[in-house]
């Protein structure tokens, strides 16, 4: 693998394929894409964790009300 990021371009009209180094702007855009994706993943993980914590808390409260584990599981569908 090359250390220099490259772009493989194919002109669909002429069929000409060109491989060239990424420009500084393209490298910055790629980093922004990766950062945006990481932020999306982090937000999703945070939301999933919050949902799981809420579910565990709800199950705990239901158990304290006297519901059996089977009844709690049935409520979850």
């Amino acid at each position: 693998m090359s250390d220099t990021p490259t772009v493989l371009e194919i002109d669909c009209t002429t069929g000409v394929q060109t491989e060239r180094p990424m420009t500084a702007d393209e490298i910055a855009a790629q980093k922004a894409q990766a950062d945006a994706f990481a932020a999306q993943q982090a937000a999703q993980a945070e939301a999933d964790a919050a949902k799981a914590a809420a579910a565990a808390s709800a199950a705990d409260k239901l158990a304290k009300l006297g519901l059996t584990p089977e009844e709690i599981a049935a409520l979850k569908g």
Binding site: V7, A32, Q33
Partner: protein
Amino acid sequence: MSVFLQPLQTVTVGSGGASTVTFTSIPQTYTDLVVMVSARTNRATYALDELVMTFNGNSSSVYSQTNLDGNGSSAVSGRITSTTQFTTTFATADGAATSNTFSNSTQYIPNYTSSNYKQIISDATIESNVSSFGYAINTLRAGLFSSTAPITSISWTGIGGQLDQYSKFSLYGVLRQGI
């Protein structure tokens, strides 16, 4: 109705790898586009990577999508809005996936020359054969490119690594007639 599928271009990544693959100067004479992708990246540690797709070099917050991903034991659905790319699918990655395996995906883009916003439908699978990653993952994703500009170029980039040698992208034009 008759449907005509015209192969436009196919590209295979060479031995040096590539960060991005771009189809430019896409003819505006078809009704829809189809892309077949077989991809693997050099992302370390993991068995999979994400391929992101942009149109016309546009990295503004004009993309949104809904995902449904499953690995055989659980399914995950998610919604992403106002983002800078369409995350099309998983790619197999060098970090943990079985050697010489590549992901397979298809992206369908109807009415790509329209002055309305553009839809993208993507389905994909990777086969990692690694139990800790659920062996195989299937994805079905619907995207929206909120731009009125006709699509003249499409790019794919691996988020976690460069595209490996032998990754392949094939573009087809769909011509619907008599409708």
